[in-house]
Subunit: 537 residues, 2 copies
């Protein structure tokens, strides 16, 4: 028996129309390359996003065609987020931190027809120009520099619009945007998000038990808009009509703190490294910035408990999310359950440091060789996902079907455990676990413990092959400015938290650690450095 409900597709056009009609007066701020603030309202955004849609259609964009963006977080990128799908196209965000040949590979694999690029990123575009065939290259003039020959000026491109754009009749399962996984191993792989999956993901981010994005918020997404739809936050902002603060290319802690203070930011989002830097700046400059009580959404890597505690001291509540490009990305969110509210701080921090519970419309299971693992807080297995915004394949890569189980779950490649409350703890990437003498050691646990040491700024633990134990952990340490912790001291610091055999055998002190373009530790590089490691005997 069918219901009597309307057939109402979930599309980004709804969000665009909603913010244009209900929140036209709300500000959208963007930091420009010269550090000045570009300020307009959702009314301007609405007009210009529709103008972009009209201009793209007039330029021959057909339903489903890909339009690439090579841009920082700012108003024009926001317009692209809506204008391209509203025209029936697919926004393909290119990751500007990748090597030029990888960007070119990705643009070619997706068969992107047009490119919208920031003027300050033209030097990067020049490096991939010869390996790509964009039909049109539309340049956003963020600086006073004139747009050169061979390019179209974004402002001129959208200025020809009539204002009378008619949306196509989109179905909700049509593609809205796509993003390639940053790929610590192998070739980048494309995930294609649908209008439906984006709208549902957006609704979840605005629910009270997830990020609770509200029109009373002032939202600062530090996470790049070229990375998994900017964690969906540019959509949550418009759905709720909250004030949006986009940091442009200035992602250093001082620039961010200045925006947080002057714009009264109430919620911000980024990888742990961003907040480690923010804390370091707050500690170095007591009283310099006056911040409102804030919450920060953290993903991309597990935040150490020490970071959560310190943020708390500054009135900043950390909310952890976990997921991957293939899950749009939000698969779990960490909020305390009601009965945990009365627990001790210690116990609450321990929960907050985990990845949380699956969001509504997401299902999660952990599978070991013996089947689904029990909720015992210790049995590890591969984390697998199923849900309304989880990918079921990669774009044009049928040979990658091994990434899914026979019964249709995504194999994330992450290893984790579930505690008795149903909270996920991500132990490691499968390949990052240390297998020592038949036992597994979690490098993440060691890293989290190490950064709690007052002299340690950042830590990375990898497995190095060992003649007797198969593998043993080696820790790379970035000390805080001026500090020189001794290996013996660090070993003692870990002694009461870990079994003796779990403590790293060696500590390597470095000035900085290698990261991927999305802020994750690049352990492959550390492993490379240790290829010829000789253990002291």
């Amino acid at each position: 028996m069918r219901g009597t409900m309307m057939d109402y597709p979930l599309t980004l056009i709804h969000i665009l129309e909603r913010v244009g009609k209900l929140f036209p007066e709300v500000d959208v701020l963007s930091r420009l390359p010269d550090r000045s603030l570009h300020r307009y309202t959702y009314a301007d955004f609405y007009r210009r996003a529709r103008a972009l849609a009209e201009a793209l259609q007039k330029s021959g964009l057909r339903r489903g065609d890909r339009v690439a963006t090579l841009m920082w977080n700012h108003y024009a990128h926001l317009e692209a987020y809506y204008g391209i799908p509203a025209a029936g196209g697919v926004t393909h965000t290119l990751n500007l931190r990748l090597a030029p040949q990888d960007i070119a590979y990705i643009a070619n694999h997706a068969a992107d027809r047009f490119l919208i690029v920031d003027d300050i990123l033209l030097p990067l575009y020049e490096k991939l120009k010869n390996s790509t065939q964009f039909e049109r290259v539309i340049v956003v003039p963020l600086t006073a520099e004139p747009v050169g020959p061979g390019f179209e000026n974004y402002e001129e491109f959208i200025s020809a619009s009539s204002g009378q754009f008619d949306y196509p009749n989109l179905e909700e399962n049509e593609a809205a945007s796509m993003c390639y996984t940053s790929g610590t191993t192998g070739r980048p792989k494309g995930v294609v998000f649908t209008h439906r999956s984006v709208v549902l993901h957006t609704l979840i981010e605005t629910t009270a038990d997830n990020f609770a994005i509200s029109h009373n918020d002032v939202l600062l997404p530090v996470v790049s808009m070229f990375h998994v739809n900017g964690w969906g936050l540019p959509f949550s902002a418009a759905l709720t009509g909250c004030k949006l603060v986009l940091p442009g290319p200035h992602l250093d802690a001082e620039s961010l703190l200045e925006l947080m203070e002057t714009q009264n930011v109430t919620v911000a989002a980024g990888v742990p490294t961003v907040w480690l830097n923010v804390i370091e700046n707050l500690e170095k400059n007591p009283g310099r910035w006056k911040l409102l009580p804030m919450r920060v959404l953290v993903g991309g890597a597990a935040p150490p408990v020490a970071l959560i505690r310190k943020l708390d001291q500054y009135g900043i509540r950390l909310i952890q999310g976990w997921g991957l490009t293939e899950s749009s990305p939000e698969a779990t969110t960490n909020q305390l359950k009601a009965y945990m509210q009365s627990w001790s701080d210690e116990e609450k921090y321990a929960v907050t440091a985990m990845a949380g519970i699956p969001t509504p419309l997401t299902e999660l299971r952990i599978v070991s060789e013996d089947g689904e693992v029990p909720r015992d807080g210790k049995t590890m297995g591969e984390i697998q996902l199923r849900g309304a915004w989880v990918a079921s394949s990669y774009y044009n890569l049928p040979e990658e079907k091994n990434k899914w189980t026979d019964d249709g779950w995504l194999r994330t490649g992450d290893v984790g455990v579930l505690d008795q409350h149903g909270y996920l703890k991500v132990a490691d990437r499968t390949k990052d676990l240390v297998k020592s003498g038949g036992e597994w050691i979690s490098s993440l646990d060691l890293e989290n413990a190490l950064v709690a040491h007052p002299d340690v700024r950042e830590a990375a633990v990898i497995a190095v092959s060992h003649p007797k134990w198969q593998e043993r952990p080696v820790a790379f340490i970035v000390a805080k400015d001026g500090a020189q912790p001794a290996p013996k001291e660090l070993r003692e610091f870990l002694a009461d938290k870990f079994a003796k055999w779990q403590v790293p055998d060696a500590f390597v002190f470095v000035d900085e650690l290698p990261h991927t373009s999305t802020g994750k530790l690049l352990k492959t590089e550390l492993r490379r450095r240790c290829q010829d490691w000789k253990w002291e005997t």
Copy 2:
């Protein structure tokens, strides 16, 4: 171009599985007929709802078959809300406040196969037994009375389950539940909600800018579960895993206040009359009940500003929603926009008394004879809706297609205006407007103003035909205990808020006003009383 996302249907099975797995330890409380509290957890609920699904299938329930419920708000009704759809059936909630012949008409029109009925409602069932043909009548034993011959005992019915129930593979557009409009005019008409529409509506109720239902809440739905899915709250409760307090048949203010205090209720929901009674009890018994800061969700009729103010004084924030059975019901929610937070109390209360802005996934327009009305706060027209949980037809009533416009919007039959901020103010039902000398007078505005008078408990204004003005307003007044306001006094009280020609010509003092079974003023009855009205000349 299709996306690469999983095909993941939105069904109530997801909510049931989620609460069973993630929130098994949370309490669900039900007030029984003898006033004692029935207490169990979502783990029990989960097991029993699945047992009900299995028992229904074993009893021959086929996909899409209707199972009627004739029940108060309690654990077994909650089990029916999930167990019936999880078996592939359709929950058809019967309104126990209707006349027996209307209930029978509705059950027959929907072709309900089975009935689940509270034992204390068997006297009502006896009155409709001869006009209906339920194949099975399953009685929920809420009291110690044995279940008589000819009936099945609900507890025995579900006790035979194996615990190994396999869900059917539901599509999201299949029917999950149905409800007939209470019908102030004409025959009741059925609305059939789909799994998809219910899940989407549930997500919206949990968003920060709507009801923000959270697992940290303790939720008391006073609104009956036989009325539009209990405003969806039994679904929001399970999706978030919040503690649920169900009041059973005891809906008097004292019983409710006692539950609010002892169960630490943080959010409750019901029609304005409920809260008027609650306030009267709080005022009569200062200090008797200690309540947590609460929010109350109010719908079904517009709450007067005076009520909003008084609730505020007790730390209770009123959130207004507006909608109808045909919109599941939530179509608008009233929360202040960010820039209104700095307004004066006076201005904020004026906004809070309106119906609010459309929820995400709902669109609203107001249409007069001249087309869509401007946002000027004064041009009235019919409120029309479109959205993801708005009905597109009535069940088996193709002749009622006049209820929808040619371009597919629901004609609500309510008249309203939009202010410059996009907020809806419901002026009246079309038929409740007073047309005096070519001008329209809003009876709702007059009623709201009248209940602000210290001696007035409730007020209803209707149009009475008039030889000169076509129609003139007549006010029915229920005075507060012991008070005897004079018409002259009330007229003066209205004088500074209304034009002289808008003030009622007559005041009729009564002990109580007639209400529909869902708490709305039954103006048809008042009009009937005024059929032979003679104006003083």
